[in-house]
Structures are given as structure tokens and as C-alpha cells.
Amino acid sequence: MSTETSFVTRAASLRAYASTADLAISPPAIHEVSDRARRIAASRNLLNEPRPIRFIIVALAISFLTIFVVLPLVVVFASAFSKGISAYLAALTEPEALSAIRLTLLVAAISVTLNLVFGVVAAWAIAKFEFRGKTFLITLIDLPFSVSPVISGLVFVLLFGAQGYWGTWLQAHDIHILFAVPGIVLATIFVTFPFVARSLIPLMQEQGTQEEEAAISLGASGLQTFFRVTLPNIKWGLLYGVLLCNARAMGEFGAVSVVSGHIRGETNTMPLLVEILYNEYQFVASFAIASLLAMLALITLIVKTVLERRLDEGQTPRDISRDDPSDH
């Protein structure tokens, strides 16, 4: 949208220039520009609906969002505070609640860190190298998005469960993966894998490999190239991916529910505890935990907006080379 506006203003200023300069024959460049500007202007006119219709459309959108997004959020906070602030705080400081918060933070910390590394490596491989099976790899990365989280959890049950492929061996060696923290971490990693890779691949593909080649020809080692050239160039995209990955890691329910075993005070994450408490009619406690997750969502949204703005700036650097006639 922003490029379009600047284009229109540029076209307008060009036309203004043409008229003041009183050019008898308008050069082809100006002709093309004004043509395109006219088309854009025409499409604008098409959107110039009568006021009542515009009002109805906007009102529809807002009421839809209110009913489906704002109201539920309000209900969450209202129910959480329905018995007063002390009941709210008490619910959050229950040992079970504290354990769930701790576990959620731990799982998120591990899985986000690992996915950060995996994601950068995968995006690097896909964006900067040509190899056989690249499309297959991209499809694989997207797999967690297209599979129901419950299935993702079930895969780990099939692998590590008592009746699973490696179940007996694990039992014999007293290694607990299922119904324990490792299982929850594995399921979370699986579900959140695409976020970092997906947010980096287009960015890295757009940036190409020239800056890396320049760095290497200047004598930089592989690590120096990565930390001094590649990483600074992708940092906003990386943060964006990490943020989304984190939000999903903390909020994941389906896959974690299958592998967790719901052991109270041990393998319950926040989303699982919300459900358990709700089923036990402990509404205040349930909504108190839910309110934390809702706040996480709100913070995520705000940071995401900021990051998106940074990313836009990074991708369209202010290019004055064409506007600067005094080159030398």
C-alpha cells in the first residue's frame, strides 16, 4: 500500500513538472507513469462506495470482531476477577498453578531455543543452497501446520508409549519420555517447528547470497560471515518467528494433551490446567490461568505489530539513488 501511495505522489509530481515545464511532447516515461497513475486512481474510484454502504461494511467487521474476539477476552478477565482480586491472586499462587506456569516456561524455553537453531539452519539451507529434494524439505517443514496437533501427539505415543516401537527398550532403561517433560518438549517442538523457518525463508531468499560472498572474499570465516553479515540482516525476521513460535509453544493444547498424562503438579502445562480446573467447576482458578495466556496473546500481538513495521523498513530500504541527480 505504501509503495502505491508513493508511486501516485511521484506520478503526480512528475505530471506537475511536465505541465510547468510546458513540454510540447510528453516523453514516454511520463506518459507511462500517468497512465498507471490513472489506472490506480480509477481503481480507487471503484472503491469509493456511498457512505451508508461503507458504514455498514465497517460496522459488520467491527461487530464480528467484537462478538468473536473482544467479548471472549472480556469474559475471560471478568470471570477471573469475579470473586475479587484476592481470589484471583490466590488461584495463581496455588502450588498446582505455579507448577503449571513453571513447566510452561521451561517447555517454551527449550523448544523455542531448539527451534531457533533448527529454523535458522533449515532456512539457511533452503535459501542459500541448491540441492536435490529442496521442495521436499520445504513441504516437510510445513507438515506440522497441516497435521492436526492431536495426531502430532499421537505420533510420539506410538514411538515412545509402553506399546510403542521403543517403549519396551525405554522401560528397560528407565527412561521416561511419555507422560513426562521430555515428551511435552518433543511434541511442542514438533508443533512449533515451522514458525522460525517459515518467517526466515522468504527473507533470506530475497536477500540472496551476495553479501555473504562479499564477506568471504574479504577474508571472513564462515562463522564471522554468519554473525556479522547474515544474522544482522535477518534479526527482525528471526525475532518475529521466535515470537510466534513462543506464543504457540506456550499455548499448545492438543499435542501436549496427548503426551502429558495430566499428572497434577508435574506434567500439566497452563492450557491443560485451564481445562482441568474448568471441568472441576473451579471457574475463578481456571479463568485466572486463562487470563495469563490471554495477556501473553495481547503482548505477542503488540510486539508482532512493532516487529512487522521494522521488517517492512528493512525490506524496502530508503532508496534515493534514483532521486539523486547530483551523483558526482
Binding site: Q210, E211, E213, A214, A215, I216, S217, L218, G219, A220, S221, Q224, R228, V229, P232, N233, P317, R318, D319, I320, S321, D324, D327, H328
Partner: protein
């Protein structure tokens, strides 16, 4: 420093980007690799820099086997067509990069690095831009910063990939002269790739003309222009008139009509006659071995450029010649033409 390339072969699938290329570059030379796109010139440059690897062959820089080293160890300055400046660094940091990534043992202290960068920015006359970011510079400025950055590591050789390709015509002309005077000043062995013959002839000491992964001719700018070795070089460098002729014994025929020129040892068979536009002598009708009607004349500066429809034979051939303005041509006039200098090549390519 010298560069030696021996029997380099590089294939991309079935396509041979480089087909047995041999090249020697002497100390302090400024060499142009000239050819159309797809001729393999950029691939050759990247192989010398270590950014690409050949399937077979040898690369020696200063007598030392370069293929045993990666690009970061070759100490080669590389300037990219699209500058490849580090977008998140200031101009100063861009130029300083090569000095900052040196191994700790030989890394200079901060004051020395600053002094060196300042010196380089002075050399490219852009010291006042030190604190800007690449996106705030014009194309010509970016390319000069890219050059300063490549020179910062005191490269053994300097490689430039279409250095002026992304710039507009006026800036390109200025940078050309600037590059040549810079080379006179610092004398580092340099190779630059270009598809622009004028650029190659104007800047380089020696020109290597490439086509389809092979070297067609190596020579001084005057040499490749005046004595093209192959039909390709004749057609690619300078404006040529090309006429399909038939060589039989020692005589040359155009559309069945014998031309009053010697075959110069060209083999019998279908051939092509190459004449530079300005090497066509004009005279009154009936003189010369060709005859044609002037269709259109444009005069500018010291020459007139005339479009001439050749008569005889199939009669549909139209050529463009450049003639001095001592005898003004008129549209519709019938004139005689005689090639002053010409070359005949076999027709297959």
C-alpha cells in the same frame, strides 16, 4: 601479481559454461573479459575468486595453486555488479570489514584501521559519506565504496564483475575513466567483466573476447578491433556490414555478381564478407564493385550515416555506411561502393 588459468572446464548440467579456457594475466595488467551474456565470462571470474569451482583445470595466482584455497584465503578483491554492500553497516564499517575479520594475530589496532579506512575513502573521494548507510547512496557512490572495501584488504588481484552494469550511461562513462586512472595509481592486477565493447576497449590494456564458454581472441583493444580473429569477434566488436558471399578459387561473388576484391586466401564455399561501416569507400555510380541507391541520410558531427539498398543480385540487401561529409549524399542517388578493408570468414558461424 600474475594470474594463470589452465584448461578450465565448468559445466552446469549439460551446458558447458567454460570449455577449456586458458588465460594468462601479467603483473599490473588491466584486463577486460568481454562477451555476450552466457559466454562464461562471469563464471571464469568467480572461479578465479573462489566463489565457484571448476570441474577441471588449474588456477594459479602468482604461481601458487589457488584451487587448494577457499575464497576467504585467496586474498582477492571482488567487486560485484550489484555492489553487495552490507546493508546494516555504515560506509565506514563496510570498508573496515575486511580489516576487522582478520585473524587476531595479524589484525591491526583500531587506530590503524581507522586511518586505513579514511585513506581508502579519500582514494575513492567519498570520505564525507563515512557515516551514511548504503541505502542512502547513489549507485555510482555505492560502487566506489564497494571498490574501496575490496581494496581494504590489499588484495593480490582485483576482480570486477560488470562493475558499471547497473549504472546509468553518464555515471558509467565517468566511472570508467576514474577506474583507469585509479588503476594507474595503484597498479594492482585487475580483471573486469563486461558485455559493453566500448567499455572494454576504452578501459582495458588487453581484451579477452569470449563466446559460448570459449576464448575467441586475446589482444590489445586496437588489435581486436582492427584484426578480429573470428567472425564472432568482427560482428561483436564495432559496427560491421555483413554480406553473404560465395568464394570460388580466388574470386568473391555476391548474389552471383563477382566483386572486385581478393579472396585473401579464404577457403572456397559459402562465406561472409565483413566490412566496417567506415571502411566502405563511396564513389560515383559505376565505380567500385558494389552499387546501391541511397535511401536515407543522417548527418551528425564529422560523418554522415547513409542507408543504402544494394542493387543487383537479390537487390533486397540494405546496409548502413558511415562516410565523411566531404561529399554530401542525397537520398535517391545511385552510388558505387568499394570495401577499403574487409575480412572474409567461412559462413558456418
Amino acid at each position: 601479481m600474475t594470474i594463470e588459468v589452465k584448461n578450465i572446464v565448468k559445466k552446469f548440467g549439460a551446458f558447458a559454461a567454460l570449455d577449456n579456457v586458458d588465460l594468462k594475466v601479467g603483473k599490473g595488467e588491466l584486463l577486460a573479459l568481454l562477451g555476450p551474456s552466457g559466454s562464461g565470462k562471469t563464471t571464469l571470474l568467480r572461479i578465479i575468486a573462489g566463489l565457484d569451482w571448476p570441474d577441471a583445470g588449474e588456477v594459479r595466482i602468482d604461481g601458487e595453486d589457488a584451487l587448494g584455497h577457499g575464497a576467504s584465503e585467496r586474498h582477492v578483491g571482488f567487486v560485484f555488479q550489484h555492489y553487495a554492500l552490507f546493508r546494516h553497516m555504515t560506509v565506514f564499517e563496510n570498508v573496515a570489514f575486511g580489516l576487522r575479520v582478520q585473524p587476531r594475530a595479524i589484525r591491526k589496532d583500531e587506530a590503524t584501521i581507522r586511518a586505513r579506512v579514511k585513506e581508502l575513502l579519500d582514494l575513492v573521494q567519498l570520505d564525507w559519506l563515512a557515516n551514511r548507510y548504503p541505502s542512502q547512496l547513489s549507485g555510482g557512490q555505492r560502487q566506489r565504496i564497494a571498490l574501496a572495501r575490496a581494496l581494504a584488504i590489499e588484495p593480490r588481484i582485483l576482480l570486477l564483475d560488470e562493475p558499471f552494469g547497473a549504472l546509468d550511461a553518464k555515471v558509467r562513462k565517468e566511472l570508467r575513466q576514474w577506474l583507469r586512472s585509479l588503476h594507474n595509481e595503484i597498479h594492482v592486477t585487475s580483471i573486469f567483466v563486461t558485455h559493453d565493447q566500448e567499455e572494454a576497449l576504452e578501459v582495458a590494456n588487453r581484451v579477452v573476447v569470449m563466446d559460448k564458454g570459449r576464448i575467441e581472441q586475446i589482444g590489445s583493444p586496437g588489435d581486436v578491433y582492427d584484426n578480429p580473429a573470428t567472425a564472432f569477434v568482427h560482428g561483436f566488436i564495432g559496427e560491421s556490414i555483413v554480406l553473404p558471399v560465395e568464394v570460388t578459387g580466388g574470386s568473391v561473388r555476391l548474389g552471383g555478381q563477382p566483386l572486385n576484391i581478393a579472396a585473401d586466401g579464404a577457403a572456397s564455399g559459402a562465406s561472409k564478407l565483413f566490412v566496417r561501416r567506415h571502411d566502405m569507400q563511396i564513389g560515383p555510380a559505376g565505380t567500385g564493385s558494389l552499387e546501391g541507391a541511397v535511401r536515407h541520410v543522417r548527418s551528425f558531427g564529422p560523418i554522415q550515416r547513409a542507408e543504402i539498398a544494394l542493387s543487383g543480385g537479390e537487390g533486397r540487401t540494405v546496409i548502413e555506411i558511415d562516410a565523411p561529409r566531404d561529399r554530401e549524399l542525397q537520398a535517391g542517388e545511385i552510388i558505387g561502393l568499394q570495401p577499403r578493408r574487409y575480412r572474409i570468414f567461412a559462413a558456418q558461424d
